[in-house]
Amino acid sequence: MRPLTFRKLFFQCLFLLIILFFVVVVALKFGAVPVSLYALGRDLLRVLLGQSSQISSDYGLIIQNIRLPRIILGIIVGASLSVAGTSFQALLRNPLADPYVLGVSSGAALGAILSLIAEPHLALPPAFGALLTPLCAFVGAAITITAVYFLGRRQGQIDSNTLLLGGVITASFLSAVIVFLMSTVNSSNTRGMVFWLMGNLSTSFQKSIYWFLAAGFFIAAAVIYATANDLNILLSGEKEAMHLGVDVRRVRFVVYIAASLLTGLAVSVSGAVGYVGLIVPHVMRLIFGSDHRTLLPTAALGGAIAVVIADTLARIVVAPNELPVGAVTAVIGAPLFIYLLRRRLA
């Protein structure tokens, strides 16, 4: 009987943060201009300590303005998708739930595309215009998870196989709508079809967007983390949770909204990157256990690590060309999904 302590949690997170640091250093190395790992590590520490002005070398600009923003984007997208996946798994009591598999990412992508198509006609102030896309992606995600939730219900109870099937079919339907929109609407700023369907981290944004994404992630993740104990108890069943003092309706509502927000944020900047929310929570459960007080922060860090690695692979496997990062995560994630599904049915 050794309960979780803050100390234990702190060291688990520190361990993952150190891994993340080294992964980022290695990821920074790959690119057209060769730079030594030691110099990268030293310079990354300087950036983290707020002394980026001391980086004098000629490659500093490439690192700071090209490679690092893409990695930061990967960190935020990975952490968001992973926390969203963990939340959906707890709420739906289904270890195979993932924003991409359930169609939530496709719903968010559709919302984002619609906002990009509509934006030139709306004449919004530019500050609000930039926020419109993530907002619409969030609305798309929230509508989709609601629809899939009701598709997955049979006789008042969630049926996990019906839920997964409903999600996969919804994703397929929404992808078709996306392809239709992209083929018929002639708009210069909607990015490519592959971007939305497969996910890609190659777009660069204004600096303010990164701050906005990070703030959105921390708020939504904090809201979910505040229900960590409730989620632990929800895992043993909704009727049990009611008798154990969990306000099931409130927790369900709050966490669905926050998880949809995380999915919407990630998809609005990277498209539908799949399986991160499935693979990472599973690996973290194997290492650290299924207590959400540990699982949520470790899944966030693990998601960041996974997406940075996947994106680095996407950049170097077919160099000088690039793969969409979603292709890399799907190549690893889809077989794992099949494996977990088979094991669960056995």
Partner: protein
Amino acid sequence: MSPARSSAAPRVPPQSTRLGTEIRLAVEQVSYAYSANPSQAPLFTLEATSFQARPGEIVAILGPNASGKSTLLQLIAGVLNPLSGRILLNSSVIHSLSPRTRAQRIAMVQQESRLLFPARVWQFVLQGRHAHGGSLRFESKDDMQIAQNALMQVGAAELADRWMDQISGGEKQRVILARALAQQPLLLLLDEPTLHLDIAAQVGLLDALRRLCARNRYTVIVVTHELNLAAEYADQILLMQSGRCLRVGPPAAIYQRELLEQVFQVPLKVEMRGHGRPRVIILSDS
């Protein structure tokens, strides 16, 4: 109406000294209707039901399937809202309590859903402490102590470090009871706790329950199909049939051949035993 009066009338139960005098639980004219769809006629109704229970008392709810036993228990637990009437626990209305406050006062033991991810027995029992702390916090020494005590009280202390999916049905039922005890409730509700248990485990569980009930002054409401176990362990019996509460009273008053035959639709024989507790023998038709 009449069942309420019969239970409120003074009587001398065998363990009159064990029971408190104050009323802890008062179910007042509670009714309920269930329909799949608001526009349709209800599929199931529970007619106005009343009874009272005191600290240290065990009340058994008996009746055939679909008689409304579990519905009544869910109403008392506060997870269903009554159509009319009210339920008071120490004079506060159960349905106006927040889920957290309710779980500090009422604990439920029922057939568990399958666990999604493996958990240790002690982690499972600690869930009972949830209502006593914030949603985001780490277990205190007190919580660990209370969980350990709860396991000890049901005779399952040695199971603490085992996995939930590696213990027997009887052990699991005791662990679930321990989780309910860790809630430190006033009211302990049990929905068919002896289902799927072998005879020794049934008697073991109910002996533990009676001992705990006497020591910690819980009010216990148990839904069961086991006529003889109810007669042996309960102070009060609530007899139900198709959504109606027929009688409330001590086992000796309720266990009458004609009444039980009419409710359960089987020929049977009732014997009165030395200590004032009846025994039912089911007679086969042949």
